[in-house]
Structure formats: structure tokens, C-alpha cells
Symmetry: C2
Subunit: 261 residues, 2 copies
């Protein structure tokens, strides 16, 4: 998808290769990667070697495939702890989840996409990582819209540029103008709804987490299904949701959380 623009230097290119393997979501062969990239054979080959040496990739001798390496998992543990809202938000999410009995998501913005960093599933035990680290579109998720609505105009424009506006359901807001209208509405209301815009039957209500200086740090959402709840019912819980967001923001502040770009 995103070809990361003009990458800076060798390191940038290597990381592009890493992303490419990640996006495949399965072990990939050399030739597949070669086909996707503009890199000449030898160059790509060396990058793969280097990354494998470094433990960022793993090479399967028998199959001749590359997959992401475990070193990334280790790094990510630190990244998650250092640089996501999750550790700060944990107890607030726990509380909200227990009270409302809805599925709770915590998300942040990453290069115009929604990055889920934590999750609470009221019904059954949490499936680890199945959610944290996952990315989703910004324009048709509650958390995405909640964040966009409160971001500075320039950032929103930049983010919208990056959207592909795929029509997931017939309720998806699949154009920039429609999205902008919605964002204004959200800003005045203070929170966002997702009315089956991403997945049929799935609705949610999301509130942005905003720092004292007015910057968007992330968003929290409550998700339900049309069979279990209505948007109105979720809306009734919005004050509680906003309260949670506010508490997280306050704690992030005092904890010195670095603001997102």
C-alpha cells in the first residue's frame, strides 16, 4: 500500500523491505518481493541478508521464504510500553469495560491509519495481539473519525490524502467531502459514532483523548452489534466514555506522554 515516499538513505530502504514482508502477512519468497519492488535483484538480496542477520527477518531454508523475526516482538514490547497510551490507559479501560460490558478499544493515529494498541473484550478472554498492533482505516472507524475530527486542519488534510476510501458497507462514508461534514458534526458533538460503516452489524461510539494543549493523543471506543444495542443506547454511555478519555488524557499529561505527530 503506502510506499513510504522518498525513503532517507539505506536504512529507510531496508525498513521498506521490512514493511513489505510485514504486509504480506505470510512467509514470502525472494521472487515475490522482487516483483513488488523497484530494487534490483542484488540490492534486494543484500537487504534481506542484512535483515536476516540482524534477526529482524527469519529465513526458512527449506522453503526459501522470509518471515518477520522475533527480534521485532521484543522491540515492540518496549515500544508498546514506552510509546503507546496502553500502560497509562489500562486501568481506565478495565473500569469502563467492567461497567459497560462492551468491547473497548484504545487506538492511536499512525501515518493516517488507526493503530489499535489495546482492547478489552467483555465476553470472553482477550485474544492477545489479535488486536494490539492491528491497523485499520481512519475514515470509517469510530476511533479514526474521533481523532480526525479533533486534529489540526493540516494534519487532517494530510491524513485524508492517504485514505483510499474503499466502500466496506453501503453506509461507509466513501468520499472526502462526506467525511469532512461528518467530522464537523463529530467535533460539535464531542464524540463519534460508527454506524456499520466498516463492518455490517458492528456499531460503536468513540471519544478522542485530547491533551491539555489540545492535541489528539488517541481515542477510546465502545463497540457493540446491532443485534445487542442501538446507537442511541451507546450514545447514552457517551458521557462515561468521554470521562474515561479525559482521565486517560490527564494521566498522560502528568506522566509526560509525548504527543503524537
Amino acid at each position: 500500500m503506502a510506499q513510504e515516499g522518498t525513503s532517507d538513505g539505506t536504512v529507510g530502504k531496508a525498513l521498506d523491505v521490512l514493511d513489505m514482508v510485514a504486509q504480506a502477512n505470510r512467509p514470502v519468497r525472494f521472487a515475490e518481493l522482487l516483483a513488488q519492488h523497484t530494487f534490483p535483484k542484488a540490492t534486494l538480496y543484500r537487504f534481506l541478508q542484512t535483515l536476516t542477520n540482524q534477526g529482524m527477518l527469519r529465513y526458512d531454508d527449506e522453503r526459501g521464504t522470509y518471515a518477520l523475526g522475533v527480534r521485532l516482538v521484543r522491540l515492540a514490547h518496549s515500544a508498546w510500553a514506552q510509546s503507546s497510551l496502553a500502560p497509562i490507559a489500562r486501568r481506565h479501560l478495565d473500569a469502563l469495560s467492567a461497567e459497560t460490558n462492551h468491547t473497548i478499544h484504545l487506538a492511536q493515529m499512525d501515518h493516517g491509519q488507526v493503530l489499535y494498541v489495546d482492547k478489552r473484550n467483555a465476553a470472553q478472554p482477550v485474544e492477545m495481539y489479535s488486536s494490539a498492533g492491528k491497523v485499520g482505516p481512519a475514515y470509517c472507524t469510530g476511533v479514526g473519525k474521533a481523532m480526525l475530527a479533533f486534529m489540526p486542519e493540516a494534519a487532517v488534510r494530510a491524513a485524508i490524502e492517504r485514505q483510499s476510501f474503499h466502500r466496506f458497507t453501503d453506509k461507509t462514508l466513501n468520499s472526502a467531502p462526506r467525511l469532512m461534514d461528518e467530522l464537523h458534526l463529530i467535533k460539535s458533538r464531542g464524540y463519534a459514532f460508527d454506524n456499520e460503516e466498516h463492518e455490517p452489524g458492528i456499531i460503536c461510539c468513540a471519544a478522542p483523548i485530547i491533551s491539555g494543549s489540545g492535541r489528539v493523543l488517541g481515542a477510546v471506543s465502545m463497540t457493540s452489534t446491532t443485534s445487542r444495542s442501538t446507537l442511541d443506547e451507546l450514545g447514552k454511555l457517551a458521557p462515561r466514555l468521554k470521562e474515561t478519555a479525559a482521565r486517560i488524557a490527564a494521566e498522560a499529561e502528568s506522566w509526560g506522554f509525548p504527543e503524537q505527530i
Copy 2:
């Protein structure tokens, strides 16, 4: 800790810098990093710039600190899904956890250290990432010893070289010879115990996950406390533990799981 030996090329050095930030476990200032490395100022500076541009690091303007970036979390999601045993092992861990009511860990070997990739906590809900991605010493954990005991001799020697043999408790096996003896015992027994060697009051029983071709893929463990269980009691469950390990191995095989180095 581990200075990763002679890094290959620019990319390797950049990744070293990344690791350095990760190991700090908190936002770090430029000067701190400079002190730890042999890199000249300008070089380190450029690396930090590049990594920040790439979203691997995040720079906090106000504090002048660097922290790991969210791009890592995204990458790790893929890494975990592609390249750890966790997705394969999930249902087996669920079953074992439900049956035994003990805390279950799933771990793999990464550069001579134990990398926990999944966890089941019988008592309270799983704390996400608090465990997955965490690393621990190989020489004084059940999973670590279980894996070492069944690894080829050369690999074990290499791994032991990397151990620092810190004495966590008075039961820690804090020397290579003592560890080697224990490994032989474990190999003949088929599974490992951790008798409060890492943390006082914490005991565990661990079995290696071994592929059809005899290579160590990872390990599973059941953990308990001395106040709740004895080693003997855990030992009684060892057959069930080994069965779980075997099932995971079998599934990894049919699924084409790439073998660890």
C-alpha cells in the same frame, strides 16, 4: 547488554541504536545514548534522525528525548502472527490453562535469551503485552533450561557464552558447569523444573517443543507459587504438559513453521 557483535553495514548500526533506545525502557536524551555508544556525535545524530523519520523512533520536542515509535508495534503484530508459535499454540494453551488452573507461558529462544510470546493467566484476565515480548534469562527459567537441554551442543555453548549468571536467588544455578549438569538431568527426564531459581516463591515445570527433525522450536511452562503447589505436584502434571508441547510441535510441523536458529 549484548552489544550485538560486529554489525553488518549501516542498517545493522541503525538497528543497534534502536535496541539501545529499547533497552533504556524510557525516553532517553541524546547525550545518554552518546555516552553508551562508540559512535561519534554526528553519526549517532543522523541515525536518530533517520529512525525518527521512519517512525521507528519518536522524538519529544519539549523534553528532547527519543522513544520507540508506534511503527514498531504495527510491525510486531505481523511478526507475532507470522513468526511466533503463539497463533499455532493458542488453543492448546487455552486448554492446558483451563485444565490445570495454572499460569501458562509460551516461550521461544532469541539470541540466547528467553522470549515470552504468549501467556495464560488462570486467575485474572491476561495483561496484554505485559508478557508477550518480554525477555528473560535462559539459565534460570524453566522454559529456558528446557530449551537449552534439547538444543545442539554448539548452540548451547553459544547461548551459555551470552549468559551473565546473575544470582537472582540462592537457588539460582549461577555457573556454566552447574547449569550443564542440570541440562543433562533435564534431557533424561524430558522436562525442566524451576525451583525458585529466578524469583523466590515462584516454581514452574517446563517442556520443550521439539520439531519432527529434532529441533527446538520453543517451550511451554506451568507456573505456580510455593504457597499453592509443590514441585512434585507440578511434576504430576508433566505428562499433560508434554502432551501439549507435542501437539503444538505437530501442528507447527503441518503448518510449516520455520525452525529457530
